[in-house]
């Protein structure tokens, strides 16, 4: 197995400098004003016309020669002959001669001779409408906007670099502009490499190790958000020719090509080789974790020029982290977009965290709102976990010399974006369908289904607002019970129960493939208790019994996983809930009811989000009613 070692990792500033040296576009394109929202003006726009284009009445009333109204007032109205009428959108057909007035609508052209408007409220029609009494003296220009007074032709209206919001679009409309020169969106090609990748929506063959391609869509969305135009190319495997063809096509068509590498060393080697053969490699490896296997370079184009190239790591969290840190700012710069407001948040570590020294660590973290302070906790389900994408709110940068953050230590979280709102409510605990429905009734909660044991432990640390604990928890906590219900659990078996499983003894005594849940799960606890009881009955050790159940020590996924393995034919029985068996159309052998308790963090009871939780919990009887095997009864 050959592999390229990244012996000298570049510092982040070196990476930024290398990327700054690339050409990412920065051209101009002309777009319809209607589609220009969010774009950035490429050139200064001067007014080509006067706005308004004529002396314009700004009130309804009568156009007059101001001189004719001098001395007029309530007590001594001035009488002027009505010479005609002019409405908005029509050319005046009459002029205003001395002693005359013309009825005028807001927005209409001031007739020749007139230099002011008397508002209708200060007038009265007399002589059957042939004349108007003017009860106010006006000065030239009163209630008139002269031509060009808003903005005159030739005036600088908007500078290059101005971001077009509804307000700028309004001013450009007033100037009659319907097409605007804007900074062109840099075209960014995305080439995801890996033989195992399948596009979302297509069929997946897990036995071949296929997985859905996460990076193409994620990075495409990130490119769009930064003001670029993503172009997604087909997947490439680790084959030199294939990758070479794809990267050259992308380089010809785009200003920047971003690959998100297969994380296996062999694929990295192939990319590395193509870039060296077909362009130049400026930099490989950055001393940031996650994200070490980053590449920066150029790719030759058929036209003799070069396009920029950046290689991202393959794991989605790593790829997006590196993209945000290095690539998005470069795309924004090329698109002329202003840097988004930096969003940081101060908090304290809820638990300790360790880091390797020697590289800048960007620790993905979630944030819990503890009322007067924010608690920060690492979110790390291991390399390649995609759930970390949504369970984290930002990163805590840990400098290369620091290897340890203590619980309680003050840290600054770099939020993923200014629009990230840490969840209003954090729960940790058992995976349970009633909890899922409870969450549906709350506004952006976060629930980490790490199991009952983890829920209790984190609640003891003071991290979540609530924990969900299933089964006998055997612990005294000062947590407050917010709700309690029962769920029927047992063995999920194939539909019709072909093996005629009748209870736990069948698992022990017969050669059945069993699937268990992890030790943090309340289902596992209840099952272990039942095994212990059976061992007592039989007068044997619990260990002997467990040894004879094939798969007892396995620990899989979530509440439905054992049942789904049964449904797939990969197991003969699995621990699970009646509700799961019913939902998946499988058989069920009941072993008991277990309590599920929603425990509130005693320090958070005053939070309004916890009030919302209590209010939603009041609906649990109705929720339990609708789930087979669930009962929401009082203690």
């Amino acid at each position: 197995m050959s592999r390229k070692e990244f012996r000298t990792l570049a510092a982040p500033d070196e990476v930024r400098a290398a990327i700054d040296g690339l050409e990412l576009g920065g051209g101009t394109e002309t777009v319809d004003l209607r589609g220009a929202r969010g774009r950035v003006l490429a050139e200064r726009v001067d007014a080509a016309v006067d706005v308004p284009g004529f002396d314009r009445a700004s009130m309804d009333g009568y156009a007059v020669r101001a001189r004719d109204t001098f001395g007029a007032g309530e007590a001594a109205p001035e009488r002027l002959a009505l010479a005609g009428t002019v409405h908005a959108g029509e050319a005046p057909e009459v002029a205003v001669d001395p002693g005359e007035c013309v009825e005028i609508s807001t927005g209409a052209v001031l007739p020749e001779g007139a230099d002011a408007v008397v508002v209708v409220e200060r007038t009265e029609a007399v002589d059957d409408g042939a004349a108007i009494e003017i009860r106010d003296a006006v000065a030239p220009g009163d209630s008139v906007m002269t031509a060009g007074a808003d903005i005159a032709a030739g005036t600088r209206a908007l500078g290059a670099g101005r971001r077009l919001t509804p307000r700028e679009i309004g001013l450009l409309s007033a100037l009659g502009v319907d097409e605007v020169p804007v900074r062109a969106a840099p075209k960014v090609g995305i080439v995801s490499t890996g033989e195992e990748l399948v596009r979302p929506g297509e069929d997946l063959d897990s036995s071949r190790g296929e997985i859905y391609d996460v990076n193409s869509n994620t990075i495409a969305a990130g490119i769009e958000a930064a003001g670029g135009e993503p172009v997604v190319y087909p997947h490439a495997g680790d084959d030199y020719e294939e990758l070479d063809d794809l990267l050259r096509q992308a380089a010809d068509e785009c200003e920047l090509v971003v690959s998100s590498g297969s994380t296996s060393a062999s694929a990295v080697d192939v990319i590395y080789e193509v870039i060296e053969d077909r362009g130049e490699l400026l930099l490989h490896g950055v001393s940031v974790k996650p994200g070490k296997p980053m590449l920066v370079g150029r790719l030759d184009r058929a036209d003799g020029g070069q396009s920029a190239y950046i290689g991202l790591p393959g794991y989605p969290v790593s790829a997006l982290t590196i993209f945000r840190m290095f690539v998005a700012p470069a795309i924004r710069e090329a698109a002329g977009r202003p840097a988004p407001p930096t969003a940081t948040l101060n908090g304290e570590m809820a638990v300790e965290a360790r880091s390797e020294t020697g590289r800048l660590r960007l620790l993905a973290v979630g944030v819990a709102d503890a009322g007067d302070r924010r608690l920060v906790y690492p979110v790390d389900k291991g390399s390649g976990a995609t759930t970390s994408l949504v369970d984290a709110d930002g990163v805590v940068p840990i400098d290369p010399d620091t290897d340890y953050l203590a619980a309680g230590e003050a840290v600054t979280v770099r939020l993923f974006s200014a629009s990230v709102q840490p969840p209003t409510l954090l729960g940790i605990g058992e995976d349970d369908p009633a909890v899922d429905r409870l969450l549906d009734r709350l506004d952006s909660p976060r629930y980490l289904p790490y199991g009952s044991r983890a829920g209790l432990a984190r609640l003891r640390d003071g991290l979540p607002d609530f924990a969900v604990v299933a089964g006998p928890n055997g612990e005294d906590t000062d947590a407050v019970s917010i709700a309690r219900w029962h769920r029927e659990w047992g063995l999920v078996v194939p539909a019709g129960n072909p093996d005629e499983v009748s209870g736990l003894a069948d698992l022990v005594d017969r050669d059945l493939r069993f699937v268990n849940r992890g030790t943090a799960s309340g289902l596992r606890t209840s099952l272990s208790n039942a095994v212990a009881a059976l061992a007592d009955d039989r007068g044997v050790s619990r260990h002997d019994l467990v040894e004879s159940i094939a798969g007892f020590e396995s620990a899989v996924g979530a509440v439905e996983t054992p049942a789904r393995r049964v449904g797939d034919g990969r197991a003969d029985a699995g621990v699970g809930l009646r509700s799961t068996a019913d939902r998946l159309g499988l058989g069920f052998v009941p072993l008991g009811d277990q309590p599920v308790e929603l425990l509130g963090n005693p320090d958070r009871l005053e939070r309004s989000a916890v009030d919302d939780l209590r209010a939603a919990a009041a609906e649990l009887p109705a929720i339990c009613e609708s789930i087979p095997g669930y009962q929401c009864r009082g203690e």
Copy 2:
């Protein structure tokens, strides 16, 4: 002239309640994941598959039975027979029997029999590659991600109401989702009324009082930003039948119809009438300035239902203010979009401001950064001015009982949006082409070309960072001169100078139509001085001379306006610059050179934006070089 009086204006809360009672949509539509960025999930999404779908190597190395490595270490490597290889994206062809290992790539399927991976760095191939020395003891599960460990099938993945950013798009991709149910964008029809409206890009007949339609594009952009789908209908005049047809069509096709009224009372009356005949009017008039003539109601649809209707005022600033305050929040709510972070800024009034009592006033203001504090100044060029759209940064709400804000009074500015960045640099003063080019070299400056006199006055108030003063200013200030140049001014005449104008005396002695600039302009000051000198020469009063110049007291637009009037044939001569005459291909009769001075606010010299201004000003010699009649010489 009939007019509907709004005798009882609704309070803002009543308007909100009326709009809350309307149905603005809230349906669901399915979109491709690729186009889903920014949308809001309409339904909860549960994982349909395990991620990963198989037990997956998370490192490059060798798949082993962990038990076979117990006791292995650097000093005592364990030797295992190499049974084969498995790469990412392929099904394992071999199993791992006791005493064996299989070479495995990151992401590949763990072969049957194996329960852990030893990373390649802790191994060495021996026996010509037939066997592998393992130098590390591993536990079951080491360097393996088990099926469903990231997220297991059946688990709640994302809740309804979640906004889709690149991160959520990543998780959905991992789940194989390529279409997502999102909140439908409410369709919002826009009907702008007014006989005088012309679409931007079309020809304008100013003699008929035509103006470009500002509101359709502005409100459409605002609707998009709020998450709605704008539908722009043709303009309607004040004709009942035409308006009736349009509003009914819009009601049939949209959930909400927004009209932006012609501001003339007659058009309001027609709309009012149509709504009363074809639906119901819930509310007319809101006690907010600007924005009194607002309507809220419902329009009957052909299908028997009703669509919501909101009538906005006609003036663009008023329309956008009322849209932002009442309509955008309702569209966001219907689209499931989170309310944007409220952005406010504390400052103090730089000048006093007066307000009528009885209505909530939303005073459009600009903000100047004075280093340690923010100065707030009203931006009001009169009703209907569209430049106020971009010259303001937000509004100061003034409650109905307050009629006066003193200079220095603390106020809170509601910024138009969280992304509004008040300008880094504020200048006020003479309209001058060299200044325009200077501004092009700065990052988002704001320059208000209100004339030399206004620049000096505001600089005395301490408002701007700099002022630009042309002509003899005759005042002592403690301002700091940042730059000084000279421009040649005189009379702009038609090309070829057909009237053979040779100087100021021709204006006095002959019957020529002249166009002047406003009294705040430095051009006007120099011209007045020249007139005074001529009067002295002739031994007559300045007044007599001025009286004999037709148009001397007129005051128009900006620096190019008099010249453009000459170009249009509407005048025989105008005061102006040689550079303008050259640019517009007109004739020029020089009357002199005038100094132009860029004066810095002495309290702001430490600001980095002022440093940038000085740096840009260093380029003035080059700028002046390129403008006819300009000279940048030292004092």
